[in-house]
Amino acid sequence: MTINGYLRNDGRKGIRNNIVVTYLVECAHHVAREIVHPFREQGVNLIGFSGCYPNAYSHKMMERLCTHPNVGRRAAGFARVRRVQQGRPAGDRAQVRPAGATGGDQDTGGTRKSIAEGQAVDRADSGTAPEHAPRADGAQRAHRRYQVRRLGRHLRIDREPGDGARIRFPGRTERELHLRGNRRADRHGELDGGRAATPELGQEIINTVAKAARYYATLGHASFAPAMPTAAHDASKRNRSAPMRRAGNRASAASSSRAMCQLPADSI
């Protein structure tokens, strides 16, 4: 089974050919939003970091997002403060061609000039309509057919109670096999250390669940629902300190009605 996609220089395939305009500090958000506005229906996306000081996690996130295979170009990055620019996603990996200015409104002369400069870049690109955009490396169009199993797929399971959100794909069919290797689930409650590929990874998963339970309980927020399977839960209880156990128990009790939202890994 094949789909149409976009080939990147490093061999990855995207299903969109978006352009991302980034802001790297909240005070550059308005400039970036105004730049995107006229092009928002042409596959130009706005992403950014609202912090005001470099942070390794946010840096890594922005770098990965700017170089995601669904992104053909990073059109502009705007950081208002020079020291934040040092933490910007500088790793323009091969598949992302920075199409234009990467700068700050302090460098370009303020809000109005920065917006004009950024929009000029987008306009220059805008033959740029994503469906007709050139390949990320500037070569010919990369709209080709690819095997479905090459694509990653994530499942987002809502935390809202009572939605009966158990999703299951048809049994052991070709469809299931296509997707099996690439799924990820985001809810800690779906993670089962007992089914991990290695015992070490299983323990890391159990530790992650315990950490999340303690973190949310400390914040006084009861939306976290561990709902761990028995074996993993028992192991986790043995490995948790008393405060962590108390935190986990509170979180569990507060959200026990949400078990329906669980997505058993072997049900897909």
């Binding site: 928002r40 996306n45 950014g48 995601h68 669904n70 499942l155």
Partner: protein
């Protein structure tokens, strides 16, 4: 003005809303995100499309313009689990082939990113470690 929270230093909620997690999934490489909702979240995302699966018939009735899959048909007996599963799978393929999801068509591009810190993880616990150690 005291603007610093009392007690142990923390960044606050790890993910203040769904889109913070969606961005993390996409940063991990997700081409498509399948998002189940009961109350009717309308969000989309930058970079990768979001397919909204709604298993609450009342919500779907109210918000069909925003929902991609009416999974509540299972509860109402209008479809089987497998039928809806096939529908979701086919929609993933259609979206991968360029069909816009409801949130894409409506222009949703929500995005949230804030501070976090993490200790390095692995690589000893990763499955690849076991393979290379053989």
């Amino acid at each position: 003005m005291d603007m610093i929270p009392d007690g142990e230093v923390r960044f606050g909620f790890p993910n203040i809303n769904d889109n913070a997690e969606v961005a993390e999934m996409i940063a991990c490489g997700a081409h498509v995100v399948t998002f189940s909702t009961g109350r009717g979240s309308v969000v989309g995302s930058a970079v990768s499309p979001i397919i909204k699966v709604c298993a609450n018939p009342k919500t779907y009735q109210r918000m069909s313009d925003d929902m991609d899959v009416d999974a509540g048909r299972i509860l109402e007996g209008r479809a089987t689990l497998d039928e809806v599963g096939h529908e979701i799978y086919d929609l993933i393929l259609a979206v991968a082939n360029g069909t816009k999801t409801k949130s894409e068509a409506l222009g949703h591009q929500e995005f949230v990113l804030s501070y976090k810190t993490f200790e390095p993880l692995g690589p000893a616990c990763f499955p690849s470690a076991r393979v290379t150690s053989r």
